[in-house]
Amino acid sequence: MFDKNKMSRILSPILQKGIMVKTLTGVTVRRLLEDELKLSHDIIDNQIATVFLDGRPVDNIDSAIVKDNSEIALSGAMPGFVGATMRRGGFYSAMRAGITHTDENLAIETHQGLVKIKLYNSLIDLIGPILFSSGFFLSAYEVNHLLATEIGPHLTTHVDKDLDGLISVSLRPDQ
């Protein structure tokens, strides 16, 4: 068993840049977080203060739809006036209305796809290990880098033939 703090330090740069997960798409952000990533209600409702979908701050995670190849960035509570404006549904959200994610009301079919997940600040330690246990996809370059670190011996990897250039990485089940 290795030090979880050390794991977070090693994984932090990767999680900030974003990892790929194979998941059901065409669902709401909440459903993806809850059913696909298996995050608890406490994490979703109390710890994730700011959500970006494709680079736009989201106010309502029950209506914003995740598509194939979407990017989701998750953050804890942020300082600064602008940090406060980025919060989902916050009092100052109107001040960044020009970039806010808006629902397109399109009927999107659900199907398996790839979504990029980025984790910032306090959520790196909180959500990183959960994603790591269930596994995610990285480029070959990133996997080689990870295997060379102290946590390398504790990883399992395999190539997914359907995902060109991406390699599945997860923590060994005995860890």
């Binding site: 330090r9 740069p13 600064g80 006036f81 940090g83 960044r96 020009g98 306090s122």
Partner: protein, 578 residues
Amino acid sequence: MEKMLRINMGADGGPKASSIPVGEYSGLAGRALTSALVSKEVPPLCHPLGAENKLVISPGMLSGSLAANSGRLSVGCKSPLTGGIKESNAGGMASQTLARLGYAAIVIEGKPSGDDLYTIFINKDGVNINVDNSLKGLGNYALVEKLKQQYSEKACYISIGPVGEMKLASASIACTDMECRPTRHAGRGGTGAVMGSKNVKAIILDDTGMGMRKPKDPDKFKEANKRWVDGLKKHPVTGEGLAAYGTNVLTNILNEAGGYPTHNFMWGRFENHTKISGETQAALETERGGNPTHGCHRGCVMRCSGIYMDKYGQYLTKQPEYETVWAHGGNCGIDDLDTIAMLDRLDDDYGIDTIEMGATIGVAMEAGLAKFGDGAAAINFVNQVGKGTDMGRILGSGAAVTGKVFGVERVPVVKGQSMPAYDPRAVHGIGVTYATSPMGADHTAGYAVGSNILGIGGKTDPLSPEGQIELSRNLQIATAAVDSTGMCLFIAFAVLDQPETFQALIDMINAFYGFNLTADDVAELGKSVLRNERAFNAAAGFTSAHDRLPGFFTRDALPPHNVKFKVTDAELDQVFNF
């Protein structure tokens, strides 16, 4: 704090200090006092570096007491950078120390006729003003080391570096921190140049023998302070987030939002943002034996600062703030934390505003004087400013002057002051504050609690343009009030979300002074500060035409969201309708 120290540097026979009652300024402190005094006593059309300008240094209402996070110091004057009124504030130990010495303000006025450089020593026994020309040209770090030998390691030092002595418009005033290092700066607006114009190199504050300031109702004060500290500690930002990563935790968020000004406000995203993020910075500091969790003054419970070590494990600088990392980092295309930390150290040592310097280097890079991303060139630019070469004096005069000299149109300034780390095209609300603040472009001008807490303003739909105007107005009013208490602006997050914590702050002030202030009174205090500042600027020649963003913000779309600043001039003119 019922007395004020007035020092006439131009008095016959040499500088003269007199301690006098605060008189008409009684009950005021911090920004409320500096702005009231400057607007009443400084001729608006005077030259900022002339004898008629005054440098006012004032602790906050609760500074020097046991109130947590009450250590902000306000510095006011007519700004050599903007030509308008200026209040710039700093952390460190100066505010607490000056308040415990019993002074509501130090007012430095007049101008010596010769070239002699002075120090001002203040303790419980009085004031000594001495000529010390051996200090000429010293950087803030060497200066403080030298003065510590002469005075005390326990004293607090307010000083300028060589850029202040050269009276350049980007010069800052340094205040020492808990470790007696000159790391906390009243950076904005060229206050250091005004101190330099008075030939004052350093003010030494020694509060030996002085105790904490005593509240009028100790029991109520103690109880309110407990609620105050509990409120700060339980909030996720002030209790945990700031301590873990510092303010630079904003890098990833602004970048994700497409509002992170990159390559002199050309784009809204910086490709290598994760290399300079707060998360990466905190991990590096820990790895090198530094500390990502550190207060800038005693009595701080948020501890958003930190200690940055170089790659050999030696102290280099305090943890650079988000705005500094942005100014010298993404804005200049630099993605190396050690380079950014070195630039921060040089800025602190020479006595330069990090935001103004970084924005200026961005303009210089756009002019072709160096390539974006060239860290060595950026360090060379700052060294030239510190040494006062011809090029350095241009750069040290700020982004607006540099843009004019080198023919750059995209110069991100309002009223001559550089814009900080948030692109107003992505966040219109902050653009309204940048445009209309009496201070020039200032991210802290509209920072604090808003109408939802103070109960000021009407019921305008916040999604309408009128709503953006109203929010900015209320934020500016509330910020002006908080700047007068001496409280760190980061308390805003706790009072924003927790009305009971805001009430604890009011209860502390009331218990300390025997007042019966309500939220309405706090709002009125903020309004009165802004009225003073606006009146000064109007008399100095400012009109609504100065309350505008540069044209490129409304003309050029910002990638990746391709947004422009859309608040109209007519709407901007509605901000100050009180």
